[in-house]
Amino acid sequence: MFEQLLIGFGTALDPQNLLFIFLGVLIGQVVGALPGLGPSAGMALLLPLTFGLEPVTAVMMLAGIMYGAQYGGTLTSVLINVPGEASGVMTAVDGNAMARKGRAGAALSISAIGSFIAGIGAVAAVAVLAPPLASFGLKFNAPEYFLLALLGILAMGSLGASPIKSLAAGLLGLMIALIGVDPLTGAPRLNFDSPVLVKGIDFIPVAIGVFGIAEVLASLERMDKVQPIRTRLRDMWLTAEDWTKCRFSILRGGVIGLFVGIMPGAGASIASLLAYLTERRFSSTPETFGKGAIDGVAAAEAANNAASHGATIPMLSLGIPGSASTAILLAALILHGIRPGPQLMAQESALVWGLIASMFIGNIILLILNLPLAPVFAALLRIPYVFLAPAILGISLVGAYAATLDMATVWMSLGFGVLGYLMMKFDIPRPPLVLALVLASLMEMSLRQALLLSFGDPMIFVQRPISAILLAAVCFALLLPFVSAFRRRRSMAGNRSGS
């Protein structure tokens, strides 16, 4: 295997391949940074251009776009609080809070480093453990996905100061997700016969609206008072303290991301949410989460990059795409006359190992690209807000249009901008709304699939071992607030009787 990896590096380091890996990660960086244009859209756009290339070169470049976008997506999340992809929502929460304190450079740097370490770790896992990890991933199916999504939704209750407000925002997200089409039967529902609503409401107009546009709206009323964020050069860099704090966050986030990534149905957004919430449990300063916790940013970014690499495991060893991006990688293989499937690793070992080696190299290129540029990008925030606000609005609306090539998406984003503004006014956290919207279809689809699998018997959630463990976690998440409230009251009572 080591020998094969060396041969893979030989292929990947070929000057032409190296050039295309570089191009791929560069394009990924750009499409990731543009809200509305995610990695899968970018890959689909460039797919026809790869026809003239060798299959291995084509796949290396397309994969570069896939993980490059995870680095690029951090930029808009941190700088202007507009996550370009669902997996960037958690990064935006703390990353943007850090930027407001003048620490955008540090947030971008730790994101790049976290993504890099987790990415390299995940590629190593792909190289060493792909087949066993793939069969482990298959143990997750509808019942497990449902509980995983439910766990995510419940945990959102802890994303803001008030659990009720957070859960209400999450509930609103679930309700918005119901509009459009029943994901299981394809029957139209709740569309009020409007041609716009028939397609349902996608993540992109909602995220662009409640984050990007709402932010600009809120700034209008205090335009004269908004000062450009002052950044001192030394705040740009990571301190030794930051690094000690984030070392294990990156490790934990990376492992969670990898495991969620290998499940063919979960995705990078659940990965970053779970990693973030886990990290808060482990953090020495959980109270800073949501207000600029660097370890939260590190964990979320490590997780989404690890998940994006992990998704290549079911693709390479089973021929099953784990995400929209890996589906396009598979398509590229088919278009180049390679039949994906369980025998891909044996029959096309040169291609598979070349791809794995290229992911090592691509991550190194991305780290080199992102680290020195972090302070440069962060310096953008020195631009006075009167100039920055129209730019944010412009990027947001262009992004909304680019996502669907339909003006309706633009109007929808503006509508959600107003909603986001109101949520800010009433101090209702916005991330649960967006995340619930993303998780809703997985949750609904997998619950109904699980009950079809069991012929309607709810015991399926208990009988399957992994499902039972997740159910226990769900119960724990539900009971924890009551238990801690009870203990707090007891200890208060104890103090009173003691004094």
């Binding site: 797919l47 026809f51 143990k139 997750f140 199916n141 509808a142 299981l184 398509a331 499937g341």
Partner: protein, 325 residues
């Protein structure tokens, strides 16, 4: 000498015939860039088929107009077909026809798309196999029928979207054999395969190329093929047709292409000709072989009749499953 003049004569006759045909069917090339509208995401079968045609047409110089494959995915291909239906007479947009283009209007109770568009060609067919898990007690389609008769609804099928090819084939199986199966829809064929490979269900449909991979890797046991005849490949030669096993179902997945309503017949004929020529290229034939697809191409009015027949099959099955509105 005699032989030579005969050949020349035949050539002359052929020439006269083909010019005659060209007169009968006026052809005119559209101007400017072309969009192949695809209702599936990048990577789906319709997408791959149209990209292959676009590549061959542009690279070989068969079509000088630059062709862009545009994925307008989502909502059961309705984003794509509504886009094309909104461009009557437009000469620069073609719609990719996959089963959702037929079934979505039936399920949603909206006007048929096939009745409105201008048929151009039936492009590619893909035969389908029925699989069970490797350690399953089922060894033939008859075993499945027996189990589903003994305990209606206890045999589960993991397939793609509701009302899609897998679902329609399940419905045909049920009605022909008089059984009831439990169909579990998934957001994509890949997701359904994950459910099957994870050992969560008994049955799963696969195309020939997916099927060969599963047979070689030992992850699935083939029970039947839904074609009129068996395949000749070594791995598939002993897979009996459903008909041989007493279940008279012949079902093939197909993809085609059509133009907007009121497309100039000359432009439609030009496209039909180009698709036929592209399909005859070595590159396309090699691609068909790699993917184990067939291309029994029919064009224009014949394609229209083909689409109408298939639409009727879809409508019948969906009505029986209770999905038609």
């Amino acid at each position: 000498m005699l032989r030579r003049s005969f050949t020349l004569g035949t050539l002359a006759l052929c020439g006269a015939l083909s010019t005659g045909l060209a007169f009968a069917q006026d052809m005119r090339a559209p101007e400017g860039p072309i969009e192949f509208t695809v209702g599936a995401g990048a990577g789906g079968s319709p997408d791959i088929i149209m990209r292959t045609f676009a590549q061959i047409m542009n690279e070989s110089g068969l079509v000088a107009n630059p062709i862009v494959v545009q994925n307008r995915s989502g909502a059961g291909h309705s984003n794509a077909y509504n886009h094309v239906l909104g461009l009557p007479g437009d000469e620069n947009t073609l719609l990719t026809l996959a089963s959702p283009v037929f079934t979505t209007p039936i399920v949603q109770g909206t006007p048929s798309v096939i009745d409105q568009i201008t048929p151009i060609a039936v492009l590619v067919q893909s035969e389908l196999l029925l699989f069970t898990t490797p350690d399953s007690a089922f060894n033939s389609l008859q075993d499945v029928v027996a189990a589903a008769t003994a305990e209606p609804g206890r045999v589960r099928v993991a397939g793609g979207a509701s009302g899609g090819n897998d679902h329609v084939l399940t419905g045909l199986l049920e009605s022909t054999s008089g059984t009831t199966l439990t169909y579990i829809p998934h957001e994509s064929g890949g997701a359904a395969r994950a459910t099957f490979l994870g050992g969560n269900v008994e049955l799963h449909f696969a195309t020939l190329s997916e099927g060969l991979e599963m047979i070689a890797a030992g992850t699935g046991k083939p029970l039947a093929i839904f074609s009129a005849e068996r395949r000749t490949e070594e791995a598939l030669a002993n897979v009996a047709t459903a008909r041989e096993q007493g279940v008279d179902v012949v079902y093939t997945q197909f993809w085609g292409v059509g133009g907007p309503a009121n497309l100039d017949p000359a432009v439609a004929a030009w496209w039909a000709d180009k698709f036929e020529q592209a399909a005859q290229s070595d590159q396309f034939q090699a691609w068909l072989g790699e993917n184990l697809y067939r291309s029994d191409m029919v064009t224009l009015a014949e394609a229209g009749a083909y689409f109408a027949r298939e639409q009727q099959t879809f409508r019948d099955v969906l009505t029986r499953i209770g999905l038609a509105k």
